[in-house]
């Protein structure tokens, strides 16, 4: 499904959550939607899923507006970090309700994941721990098989092994049947290898939209003795510098070959570091 975002704006009283954001998501991929708190990620996802209205601009999916459009609402599943389900419902009720709303619902997968995450189907949502409630969200998101599946910090309280298993299942499901997965998280380093394309929002504006591979090639971390690194980065676009005991690491935009030729050590920049550097730079501007 093709998602076109055209001059999208959203204002909450005095606060502008999104400012004329425009971009297109052309094909089914795993997209990383990154940004600091208050960058506008959740607002964007709420508009995309038709849960709120934009103040200006529009989102068009395959040529149609998702707001109150049944063909699209049953193609979009948004799982947030909390408050996804009514607390008095039992796990089995939640699964059954969602099965009515998603025509491609995979009950077999839901049952498998229930076992995987050791959930009691007769337990009420309010009786679940934070991590178990997150696991239920993950199960619903994956079993919905919605062509556009959106995870907004879906694993609050979920332990590291369960998160790792989630990434594995997500990737497996994605490989079996490609769909657009939009993943918003603050645990960027954990999932950055899953991302095929990265979007970074900052203060309501789109800061970057790039293929993950291109981002990795675009910037590099140059390390060495302080004097040598400083000399090398003089005419470079530097994102950030770190110094320790006479040594220096600088994140720069550009190819690492020249640095290597100058005897400096070159590594990739973790996407998390890149996001921090880019958003800090924008805020400082």
């Amino acid at each position: 499904m093709r998602i076109e975002v055209k001059n999208l704006s959203k204002r909450y009283k005095d606060q502008e959550a999104l400012k004329n954001v425009s971009f297109t998501l052309d094909e089914p991929k795993i997209y990383g939607l990154l940004g600091r708190n208050g960058a506008g990620k959740t607002t964007f996802m709420n508009i995309l899923s038709g849960q709120i209205l934009a103040s200006g601009g529009e989102i068009v999916i395959d040529g149609e507006n998702p707001f109150d459009n049944q063909r699209l609402t049953e193609s979009i599943c948004l799982i947030k970090e909390g408050d996804n389900f009514k607390k008095d419902l039992k796990v089995k009720n939640v699964l059954k309700i969602y099965s009515y709303f998603y025509p491609k619902w995979d009950q077999e997968l839901a049952d498998e994941l229930i076992k995987e995450y050791n959930l009691n189907v007769n337990a009420k949502v309010k009786a679940l721990s934070k991590g178990m409630e997150s696991a239920l969200g993950i199960i619903v998101g994956l079993a919905s098989k919605a062509p556009i599946t959106i995870f907004d910090e879906p694993y609050i309280g979920l332990d590291a092994p369960s998160r790792k298993r989630f990434y594995e299942i997500l990737l497996n499901e994605y490989q079996m049947e490609k769909r657009t997965i939009i993943f918003s998280t603050h645990l960027i380093d954990e999932v950055s290898l899953l991302f095929e394309e990265v979007l970074i929002l900052s203060e309501g504006s789109l800061l970057l939209k790039e293929e993950a591979e291109a981002i990795r090639d675009k910037a590099c971390a140059v390390s060495g003795k302080k004097g040598e690194v400083e000399k090398f980065i003089q005419d470079k676009d530097v994102l950030e510098r770190k110094q320790f005991a006479g040594m220096m690491t600088a994140y720069i935009f550009g190819d690492g070959e020249e640095a290597r030729a100058n005897g400096l050590s070159v590594e990739g920049v973790p996407i998390q570091e890149l996001m921090i550097a880019l958003t800090s730079r924008k805020e400082g501007a």
């Binding site: 709420n46 899923s49 038709g50 849960q51 709120i52 209205l53 109150d68 459009n69 049944q70 609402t73 049953e74 979009i76 599943c77 948004l78 996804n84 389900f85 009514k86 008095d88 419902l89 039992k90 009720n93 059954k96 309700i97 969602y98 099965s99 009515y100 709303f101 998603y102 025509p103």
Partner: protein
């Protein structure tokens, strides 16, 4: 019926089950306690015990109509329900709830009165909103359904006003209604209207009340068609 409407009805049913169980458990306990008290009043001169089953049910319906907006609508939207399906499903559910509650209430009163007659507990009486309700089982069901659906609809509208226009908007609407009611009471026509309708009743009034409830519910579509998950504060 569309999948979404079926899903919404399943959602509403599973969601309300717990509160209904608590409500009916309390009401049945009060009924049993009342029968016990009425039994002890048999020997007392002019001893009579009156219990209203309808009033608590009406209060429950009114509160339910109001709370549905903030407790149910945001979750229904999050699941992916469209506003049109939500409007249809809630209408069916409200009417269904009113009918089922009326049938249960009327049957309960029928069985209780048969029991008191058989056991000679003549001191026990039900208190009715209208003398018509002392009539047949069906008349009670019709009257209760009309009153309950009307209460659910009107309180649902208030819930929507508070949800969409915030405390200020909802408060203004509630304030205007209270002013009209106070004016009607002061002028006397409101009290006269109710006395006429409930003391010298005609069943047609309750059919009209059901009709008004349906029209009021129909008007809610204009509130629901653009509703979002964000409540105005």
């Amino acid at each position: 019926m569309g999948r979404q409407v079926k899903g919404l009805l399943y959602f509403f049913l599973t969601d309300i089950r717990y509160s209904l169980m608590i409500f009916w458990s309390i009401l049945l306990s009060i009924l049993v306690l009342s029968l016990c008290i009425a039994y002890f009043l048999i020997g007392v001169e002019n001893g009579n015990y009156y219990l209203s089953v309808d009033i608590p049910i009406y209060v429950y319906c009114a509160i339910f109509g109001f709370l549905t907006v903030k407790e149910t609508i945001p979750f229904a939207i999050k699941i992916g329900a469209t506003r049109k399906n939500l409007f249809v499903a809630l209408g069916v559910f409200f009417l269904g709830l009113a009918v089922v509650k009326s049938v249960i209430s009327s049957t309960l009163q029928l069985v209780t009165l048969a029991f008191t007659k058989a056991t000679g507990v003549s001191t026990f009486n039900f208190l009715y909103l209208s003398p018509l309700m002392e009539g047949s089982w069906l008349t009670r069901v019709i009257i209760d359904t009309a009153v309950m659906f009307f209460l659910i609809s009107i309180m649902y509208i208030f819930g929507l006003l508070f949800y969409k226009a915030g405390l200020a908007g909802g408060g203004i609407a509630a304030g205007i209604l209270i002013l009209i009611l106070l004016y009607g009471i002061a002028e006397g026509w409101l009290i006269e209207f109710f006395i006429n309708q409930f003391m010298e009743p005609h069943l047609s009034f309750f059919y009209q009340l059901l009709g008004v409830g349906l029209v009021l519910y129909g008007l809610t579509y204009f509130f629901v068609r653009n509703i979002t998950i964000i409540k105005t504060k």
